[in-house]
């Protein structure tokens, strides 16, 4: 499968997919995270939760139903065994720890597990939507993002500078270069992506991180 991973986003999505277990209830942010299910093995079925009010998000199946959209407002489907509910219940599930994993993009993440992904003051203020509830309530928060911003600067920082989405909420960071875990002792690099060496990661990462002994 590795051979088919032609771009950074696919590398990231494929690695995140390995974190999901059969039966997990998962909420995926828009953009890159929505690519994750494409990389799940055939024997791993996850249940996607959509914060606009349902469980069992699936691809569009048959005709478009104008009343059936995903959390990005795009036409979507529902799998057999899914269920619709209102926004209150949707966030009871999210905030109440009934979502096993959420995968979200990030503008900045830091060694404390802080995440910033909802606004750039003076430039972009779209609103937080459901992201703040997701990072607060999901059992596991995975940030899936390219390692560097378009400007080339590191997105993994010692301390976030943008307004936070959540404080101390991130469990894992997956980029096209490496996989990190946020622990009480700070950030730890757990894996290097195929063909990447540790020096490259150090060079491209502002944050100070520890190294899992398994990495050489």
């Amino acid at each position: 499968m590795i051979n088919t991973l032609i771009n950074p986003k696919q590398i990231i999505a494929a690695r995140v997919a390995k974190e999901l277990k059969d039966g997990d209830v998962v909420n995926l942010g828009i953009g890159l995270p929505t690519m994750v299910p494409n990389f799940l093995p055939a024997d791993v079925n996850v249940i996607l939760q959509s914060e606009n009010g349902y469980i069992g998000l699936g691809p569009l199946d048959g005709d478009i139903d104008p009343d059936l959209v995903n959390a990005g407002g795009q036409p979507a489907g529902i799998i057999r065994g899914g269920a619709f509910f209102d926004s209150l219940f949707s966030f009871e599930l999210i905030r109440g720890g009934h979502v096993d994993v959420t995968v979200l993009g990030g503008l900045e993440v830091d060694v404390h597990g802080n995440l910033a992904n909802w606004m750039v003051p003076g430039k972009m203020v779209p609103g937080m939507g459901g992201a703040m509830d997701l990072v607060t309530g999901a059992k596991k928060v995975i940030v899936a993002m390219e390692h560097m911003a378009k400007s080339g600067s590191s997105k993994i920082l010692q301390q976030c500078r943008l307004p936070l989405t959540g404080k101390g909420v991130v469990d894992m960071i997956v980029t096209e270069l490496a996989v990190f875990r946020v622990t009480e002792e700070g950030l730890i690099i757990e894996e290097l992506q195929e063909g990447v060496d540790l020096e490259t990661v150090k060079e491209k990462t502002e944050a100070v991180f520890k190294i899992n002994p398994s990495i050489k």
Binding site: E51, N52, F84, D86, S87, R95, G127, K167
Partner: protein, 218 residues
């Protein structure tokens, strides 16, 4: 008591400066004909409570584009560039609320609670100006109830008593808002006689619904 209403009656209910809640998520589950009624009524200086400001041409978006809104309380405004433009120009007051908190605040307003203690937003700009309450060692924000004078909702089906059934993901904020406004007006695709909806299948009981507008204006 006949709850079936007309565009004219709706216009007569709306007044400048009102606080109005509207159901919907990016326009899905928004009562589009009631939004049109608002536009045609000329009502302005509205405080709008909605999940998002949708797109420029659909959902509650046209209310923003046509400058009928003075203040918006929502979780997301990114899909309607006009909202951000008016906000930056200082012409529109925007209060951004996390989506789950928005749902809780509307429910609190509709169910007689003094507010809700949520962990969402602790340590972010959302906590600014809010009371923090520590319960068993964990910090929560005290988020206050929201209510409106009028709620504009969309359902799939109503009986003449106002019992409602929603369809698919168009349910979203509609059932919560039915609790939290002085006058609840719902646009429906289909109306049936009382007794035709099984009481186990009712999603919003008719006692919460004041006016029913049948889509297409039957």
């Amino acid at each position: 008591m006949n709850k079936i209403t007309s565009m004219e009656e709706i216009s007569s209910i709306l007044t400048d400066g009102m606080t109005i809640m509207a159901g919907g998520f990016m326009g899905v589950g928004t009562p589009q004909e009631l939004v049109t009624a608002m536009l045609e009524s000329g009502v302005k200086d509205i405080t709008l409570i909605a999940n998002d400001t949708a797109f420029t041409g659909t959902g509650v978006g046209p209310l923003i584009v046509n400058r009928r809104v003075k203040k918006v309380i929502a979780s997301h405004i990114g899909t309607n560039p006009e909202t951000g433009k008016q906000m930056i120009a200082g012409e529109l007051d925007v209060e951004l609320v996390p989506q789950g908190t928005l749902a809780e605040r509307v429910r609190a307003g509709g169910s007689g609670l003094g507010g809700v203690l949520t962990p969402t937003g602790v340590g972010t700009v959302v906590e600014e100006g809010k009371e923090k309450i520590t319960v068993d060692g964990r910090e929560y924000l005290l988020e206050k109830p929201l209510r409106a004078e009028v709620a504009l909702l969309k359902a799939y089906k109503a009986d003449k008593a106002g019992n409602l059934i929603y369809h698919r993901s168009a349910r979203n904020f509609n059932p919560l808002m039915a609790l939290a406004a002085d006058t609840v007006i719902v646009q429906v695709e289909k109306i049936v006689e009382i007794g035709e909806i099984d009481p186990d299948e009712v999603m919003t009981p008719g006692i919460l619904v004041d006016k029913i507008f049948v889509q297409g204006g039957c």
